[in-house]
């Protein structure tokens, strides 16, 4: 279906809902094409290619609301989705805060956000790029004896949104990514690691050779890892792991967590919650980045929100419902898949870069654990408890020395934010959440004894 046909289908779903007695309605449609190829040990292993689409509808019956979805965008499919939403809305109960954004809150950014580009690589070229990345990885060192493959993925999509307050909008987006996952072996111990690059089109990707080499470096430096003694230490999170900390702050500043009193940052606006060096921003208006969009999933234009400025909490991130619950205005952070009611999402969420190049940061730290991988879900953003599995490299006298494995790093997010000692200058966006290298003092590293 063309973009215009998708918009018509969304508008029609909203109109049909009103005709069946809904007092408000909004419809989201997503349509896209995906391509993915994985090569392993120089041969194509998997190739997948398909188009898909789906629609979701939320209806209001006064203060009650229900929603439905379908993968069938035919007129009959849309009609059934509408009936289904109205039917299920009847079993819900009146919620005084339920509703759509006010008409004057709706709108979209008009500048070019650079979300879509031409994806011009042929299938043969994509396969070739993946083969080159894997080859570059495996030829870097004799200890690289195996591979979990290298993949080239690409996606093009269009997203449409319409509501009963007169909003109708749509936008295209594209991305492609290339990754390599080599496996290294020494002394009967195996390790794997990866590197990837992502861009709106292939011209913005790192070269396959560079991706392969970086993946190889990452896995090689894990070989010969040891456990270390349990101790209190400064933990340095490299950008790939530091970004997860920004994600935890996000979870704690969503309006949903705040009105449910489920956040370690509850009632902290205007208070110091982090080191003065810490500034965290959410900005969906930055051109070309992966968290950018002209409007949020309720049809409200995105805007730059300063979450923490120089250590002081400035705002929560809100959509229409949570804003009303908290007596505030939406911050343009509605996010939803096709099903259900809006939740809180973010645009480009990042911790602002500091001044220190990473090597200097390590010198400032002196001794500590440089964390290159975190595993597990041991983070509780209600009480701030933080405990995750980690591997990385021990820092001694400001230099990276031997690899460390099978340890946990633990603390409490409230204290960890205040204990941010140094911030690197190496902020890079490899997705919609980003952070530079971060050094956090006073964490518990659990290992042997």
């Amino acid at each position: 279906m063309t973009e215009q046909q998708l918009r018509s289908a969304a508008v029609s779903a909203v109109e049909q809902a009103l005709a069946l007695g809904a007092t408000g309605a909004e419809c989201t449609i997503a349509s896209g094409s995906e391509f993915s190829v994985t090569v392993r040990l120089g041969e194509v292993e998997k190739l997948k290619e398909a188009d898909s689409c789906g629609a979701g509808l939320r209806v209001l019956l006064g203060q009650r609301q229900g929603s439905s979805y379908t993968s069938d965008l035919s007129a009959e499919g849309i009609r059934q989705m509408v009936t289904s939403a109205i039917e299920i809305a009847r079993i819900t109960e009146a919620d005084p805060y339920a509703g759509l954004p006010e008409a004057d809150e709706l709108g979209q950014l008009t500048q070019d956000l650079g979300l879509a580009s031409e994806l011009t690589l042929s299938t043969a070229e994509k396969i070739d790029w993946a083969k080159r990345a894997e080859k570059a990885a495996l030829s870097a060192d004799a200890r690289l004896t195996n591979s979990d493959g290298a993949s080239f993925d690409s996606h093009t999509g269009v997203r449409v949104f319409a509501n009963s307050r007169g909003f109708a909008g749509s936008y295209h987006s594209t991305y492609c990514s290339l990754s390599a996952v080599p496996v290294a072996k020494s002394d009967e111990r195996m390790e794997r690691d990866y590197w990837f690059s992502i861009g709106r089109d292939h011209t913005r990707l790192e070269s396959p050779e560079q991706i392969g080499r970086r993946a190889a470096e990452r896995v090689l430096r894990r070989l010969g890892a040891r456990k270390i003694a349990t101790q209190t230490a400064t933990v340095v999170f490299e950008p790939r792991t530091a970004r997860s900390l920004v994600g935890h702050v996000f979870a704690a500043v969503t309006g949903d967590a705040i009105y449910r009193k489920s956040s370690f940052l509850l009632d902290k606006i205007g208070q110091v919650v982090a080191s003065p060096a810490v500034t965290i921003v959410d900005d969906p208006t930055l051109p070309g980045l992966f968290g950018s969009a002209p409007f949020d999933d309720e049809g409200v234009p995105g805007r730059r929100n300063l979450i923490i400025q120089n250590g002081v909490l400035q705002t929560y991130l809100l959509h229409t419902y949570t804003a009303r619950k908290l007596g505030r205005k939406t911050t343009g952070n509605a996010s939803r898949g096709l099903t259900g009611s809006p939740g809180t999402g973010h645009g480009n969420l990042y911790l602002e870069a500091g001044a220190l190049p990473p090597e200097e940061l390590l010198r400032e730290v002196g001794n500590g654990l440089y964390v290159t991988e975190l595993i597990g879900q041991g983070v509780n953003t209600v009480n701030g408890d933080y405990s995750r599995g980690a591997s990385g490299i021990w820092i001694e006298n400001g230099e990276l020395t031997y690899p460390v494995t099978e340890v946990t790093v633990a603390g409490n997010l409230s204290e960890m934010l205040k204990n941010v000692l140094f911030i690197g200058n190496d902020l890079e966006f490899l997705g919609s959440t980003a952070a530079p290298t971060l050094a956090i003092g006073g964490m518990t590293v659990s290992g042997v004894q």
Binding site: S71, A225, S262, G376, S387
Partner: protein
């Protein structure tokens, strides 16, 4: 069942001739194997928050995935439209990748052998919404009545009904109707102006609505969630460092899922990227350990009558008295390694390529009583409940996060400690299991397993076990 009386035959008019035609197209460029996976999925969910039924959703998705295998190569395409042109186009797309000199003919389709593990006459999703909405209301009322310190209750009831048809080029044809229902509750309790603490409860399976009216009533889940939150109010920092760890029965079986289960999936082993690769017949756990993956248990969340490649699920012994017996295989890994599929080929939905996956993974009971096990520990930690876990199957390191734990001092549980992550190395940690209880328990039926971007429902189970050494990631120094 015959094709004409099956869901896809009767509702969408799919005939054997259609299936033959699609499979022939998929094999058209030369290949070893092809299959079709038709899926119709209806879901609904009802959510309560602040004692208000705030939202409810229902919907349907429909599609077909076509897979072609040639040697180690897999081509895959799907369509969310069941028109013959679209399915033929998907088949041609999937066939492109194969492009092999191999030539097989389709074998005429014969219904596959399969179980009847969830003969739910009326799937929950086909029952009146008015009946289903009661569950979240009852959960809320029970949680709030259980303790005055409860300040928030959220509850979600979700169910689904999936109809699947699989047809393979080697002649297998399977139909399955897969009901699922689940009730979850999350509460927040607070003592005065202290830090609020969370607790969770929930359960379900491939069951009818009557499941939630007996011992698994909403009230039971609510009370369990409240109990967990209240325990946390008094919890102190968890210890940091190596410790003796005792796991309680049931959900802590997530240990097996992470420490050994993923590492025994045949795709990793075929490629030699798992820490367990090439170790069949070797000792990989203490002799007290017998670990099984069983997709054939009645009504369980992880059970399937037939897997997503038309192979019947089985009871697969993974580890027997500490010795590694075998891997979990799907069709592709079975073909490449010359074995038979263990009925472990699963996929999230028609948009995904199947992979070897777990179903219900558990350890058989041993001889010790739970009391003996706890009494044997001078100083350690007892973990009764866990959140999720994760594993790096290549180096074997795994974590799981405790959500309810207690210190063990001089053979007794003394005080609760806060959530902490435990980390170990699969084959090593399994060797440290020195006592196994006689109290095997399966989990309540809320597990979800993620692998390579695909989520599938699973179950776990374990008796009380003693692990002599694991690293506990708390913050309290001994």
């Amino acid at each position: 069942m015959s094709l004409s009386s099956s869901f896809f035959g009767s509702k969408f008019g799919i005939t054997e001739r259609d299936l033959d035609r699609y499979l022939a197209e998929a094999l058209g460029r030369g290949a070893d194997y092809a299959d079709l996976y038709f899926e119709y999925l209806a879901t609904s969910s009802i959510s309560l928050d602040e004692s208000i039924v705030k939202s409810a959703t229902q919907g349907v998705s429909l599609g077909v995935g076509v897979r072609v295998i040639a040697g180690e190569r897999t081509g895959y395409a799907y369509s969310d439209d069941l028109s013959p042109e679209k399915i033929l186009k998907a088949a041609a797309t999937a066939a492109c990748i194969a492009d092999s000199p191999a030539k097989v003919d389709t074998v005429s389709l014969t219904p596959a052998r399969q179980h009847d593990l969830y003969p739910v006459l009326r799937a929950p999703i086909d029952q009146p919404l008015e009946e289903r909405v009661q569950f979240v209301k009852r959960t809320d009322a029970a949680a709030r009545a259980a303790d005055a310190r409860v300040i928030q209750v959220q509850s979600t009831y979700a169910d689904s009904l999936r109809h699947v048809l699989v047809a393979t080029s080697d002649g297998k044809l399977s139909f399955d109707r897969q009901p699922m229902a689940r009730l979850n509750v999350s509460v927040l309790a607070r003592q005065g102006e202290g830090t609020p603490q969370q607790g969770y409860g929930g359960g379900g399976g491939r069951v009818g609505l009557d499941y939630f009216t007996g011992a698994s009533a909403p009230e039971a889940y609510a009370r369990e969630a409240v109990r967990l939150a209240i325990v946390q109010l008094d919890a102190t920092e968890a210890p940091a460092g190596e410790s003796v760890v005792v796991l309680g029965p049931g959900w802590p079986g997530v240990l097996l899922h992470e420490a050994v289960g993923h590492g025994l999936e045949a795709d990793f082993n075929r490629k030699g990227t798992s820490v367990f690769s090439g170790r069949v017949g070797q000792k990989v756990a203490s002799e007290l350990c017998t670990v099984i993956d069983d997709g054939t248990i009645d009504s369980r969340r992880g059970s399937l009558n037939v897997d997503d490649e038309a192979n019947p699920t089985r009871q697969n012994v993974l580890i027997e008295n500490g010795i590694l017996r075998g891997y979990l295989t799907d069709e592709l890994s079975a073909r490449l390694t010359g074995g038979r599929s263990t009925g472990s080929g699963r996929r999230e939905n028609y948009q995904h390529i199947p992979m070897p996956r777990m179903t219900n993974t558990f350890m058989l009971s041993g001889a010790s009583t739970p009391e003996e096990i706890i009494r044997s520990v001078k100083k350690g930690i007892y973990c009764a409940n866990f959140g999720g876990g994760q594993v790096d199957i290549t180096n074997g390191n795994f974590v799981f996060s405790a959500s309810e734990s207690y210190l063990i001092e001089d053979g007794k549980l003394t005080r609760p400690v806060r959530g902490a992550t435990l980390i170990g190395n699969g084959p090593e940690a399994m060797q440290y299991i020195s006592m196994v209880g006689n109290d095997l328990k399966l989990d309540q039926g809320v597990g979800i397993c993620g692998k390579d971007g695909q989520s599938v429902p699973v179950g776990v189970g374990i008796p009380t076990v003693r692990i002599d050494k694991m690293t506990v990631g708390g913050t309290a120094r001994a």
